[in-house]
Amino acid sequence: MTDDLAGARVGPEGTGAGAAPLLEVRGLRVAFPLERRTVYAVQGLTFEVHAGERLGIVGESGSGKSVSAQSIMRMVPFPGKVTGGQVLFEGRDLLGIPDAAIRSVRGSKIGMVPQNPLSSLNPVITIEAHFREVLSRHLGLSRSEARVRAVELLGSVGIPDPAQRLHEYAHRLSGGQRQRVIIALAIACRPRVLIADEPTTALDVTIQAQILQLFDELVAGANLGAVLITHNLGIVAAHCDRVVVMYAGRVMETAPVVELFRSPSHPYTVGLLRCVPRVAMHKARVFATIPGLPPQVTELRDGCPFAPRCDRVSEQCRRETPALADIAPGHALACWNPVTDAAARAEAASV
């Protein structure tokens, strides 16, 4: 694993095909047993993240992106339960280790940036206290050491006058500043993996761009493995190396970003690309044109989950679940009738 950025941009093969991934999710299943029915939010999700790589996870609302991120940290909200699969990090299955062990992974080996910076800081303790508690918990720093490091961290995420800011409470910072503080907290203990769940949805467009640029710099600078969850294909194109397209709790297609945009092969991916508005970045209209609604899976049955909305659906699609299979190096697909039609691709790819 090197700091070779050029390599990282091309994808895992570039970082050295033989290197083991930093984080590997294998066959993850998560279910929410509710009172009258069970929601199968994640069904056999598989992906991996390498050092220096930025993996984008895209999919419509409800496709299970956040639940997947939460299960990596073992933080699925009640009544959700991980019912199968593995989350391998540094050779250990995080799903199997004791509670105390997972707590020392959270925030120290794996950092998390949430969607909503406005409500993610404790309103009754100062910014400094936030840093102090993680730094003393994971690195055993003293009060004064923690303060020095906190100033440094705030500076590095571009907060002006950091020493002053330490004494503030969260409500006195702007949304962008709060998100920077949260990012600084997430990287405070030099994690190996950074998971960002729609880190910019709550922010306006200019701030979004700044935060994402910061994200890029941090990943490159520390050679992190990063997972960026988003609705926005524009963001994926600009800030990710590889993409996982999720639907109904499964991977539909995964490929290096350039490859995916050049030759999208899954009908769902093509659909997504087709409805990216020409002026990217406007989240609201992204999925406006795939007919039908994304499912909330409440019963397990065979067949392609996308079948009800797919324009290439065949009899086989309804009977058998397509498995994820490589169609090119680094490019895998779960579909019986992939899009090969150059015209459709070209239209989609013109984004």
């Binding site: 940290m73 933080m75 909200p77 009640f78 009544p79 707590r103 020392s104 992974v105 959270r106 925030g107 120290s108 998390m112 949430p114 909503n116 409500s119 993610s120 800081l121 404790n122 309103p123 009754v124 303790i125 206290a129 508690e133 993680v134 918990r137 994971h138 503030e168 409470y169 409500h171 006195r172 949260i182 907290l185 997430a186």
Partner: protein
């Protein structure tokens, strides 16, 4: 409601400037409003009490001669026009003198209250200590064990015994079991320390249940807040999350909810005092009501209302001091 009033100090002003001013003017405004309402209350009660024909002695000492009646009325100043009587009363009040009770003409109202209130205060103080601490504990435990049998058990027992059952019913059950059947504790009365136990238990249940409910609800609300999840995502220990993240914010609203309840408890429950035969403020109020003892009634109402108003203001202030968001920009709730 506090948030609105404190909104004067927005984030544009520095972290601390103008703060003392804001608090002072806020305090002044609240105290003035309290005094106004108190005045209104006394006028209303006074007018009401004098609006009925017959006067206080009409039915208690029915067979007095006209002359004797007039003499008594004159002694208490009841022959003057009502507005004069009110002004006299206010005048006396401003000198700290609450008048002479009709029922016990040899004493003053001040004196009566001075002997009765300590009893009520002891019961009330103990009740607050027991119910608030135990309610808090149970509420937090129920919230931490949300969706388990512990939670269900606490919630069921508390809402049955505390909220749904009248305290005098509980009182009778306690007397029946612990005093009559088991003979461990006295049936009632006042004098020995053992007399305190059953009244405090019976009186505690309702505030305890309230405290448990609110603590549980506000703790649960915070438990699922984003910043608590993020605290967990940073690997903080369960204890740290509980104390620094959950309780520190969830207990703040309790100040405004449970604060104003304190005067209610400190002025006693007429039902509890009757059930256990305690000679406290509540039983004087009951007696005064039975005999239309206006000076005593006015004094008691005034005490309760003033105490209530003061506690209300104090708890609002305490809220503003404890919660940095209110302190600086007002809560947007």
């Amino acid at each position: 409601m506090l948030a609105l009033r404190l909104q004067g100090c927005g984030p544009d002003q520095g972290p601390s400037d103008g703060r003392a001013d804001v608090v002072l003017s806020y305090l002044l405004q609240r105290v003035l409003s309290l005094l106004f309402v108190l005045l209104l209350a006394t006028v209303g009660i006074f007018a009401m009490m004098h609006s009925v024909p017959g006067g206080p002695f009409a039915f208690s000492q029915g067979d007095l001669t006209k002359v004797a009646m007039h003499n008594i009325m004159a002694k208490y100043g009841l022959t003057e026009p009502v507005w004069r009587q009110y002004l006299n009363w206010i005048w006396q009040l401003m000198h700290g003198y609450l008048g002479i009770p009709f029922e016990e003409p040899t004493m003053t109202v001040n004196h009566l209250i001075a002997t009765a209130w300590p009893i009520t205060l002891i019961i009330g103080g103990l009740t607050i200590a027991v119910s608030y601490s135990l309610g808090l504990l149970l509420g937090v435990v129920a919230a931490i064990r949300h969706n388990t049998w512990v939670d269900s058990l606490i919630t069921a027992v508390v809402s049955t015994a505390g909220i749904a059952l009248p305290n005098y019913v509980i009182g009778f059950l306690l007397i029946e079991v612990f005093a009559v059947k088991l003979g461990w504790l006295p049936v009632g009365g006042w004098g020995s320390p053992a007399d305190v136990v059953l009244p405090v238990i019976a009186f505690s249940l309702y505030p305890l249940a309230l405290m448990e409910r609110y603590t549980r609800a506000s703790t649960l609300e915070v438990t699922y807040a984003d910043y608590v999840r993020m605290g967990r995502a940073r690997g903080l220990s369960g204890r740290r999350i509980l104390f620094n993240y959950v309780l520190r914010t969830s207990l703040i609203p309790l100040i405004t909810i449970m604060g104003p309840n304190i005067p209610n408890i400190l002025t006693g429950s007429i039902f509890i005092e009757a059930t256990f035969g305690l000679p406290g403020l509540g039983s004087y109020f009951t007696n005064a009501s039975l005999h239309r003892d206006y000076p005593l009634i006015m004094a008691l109402v005034l005490i309760v209302a003033a105490l209530w108003g003061a506690c209300y203001i104090i708890s609002d202030l305490a809220y503003a001091i404890v919660d940095p968001r209110v302190r600086l920009e007002g809560l947007s709730r």
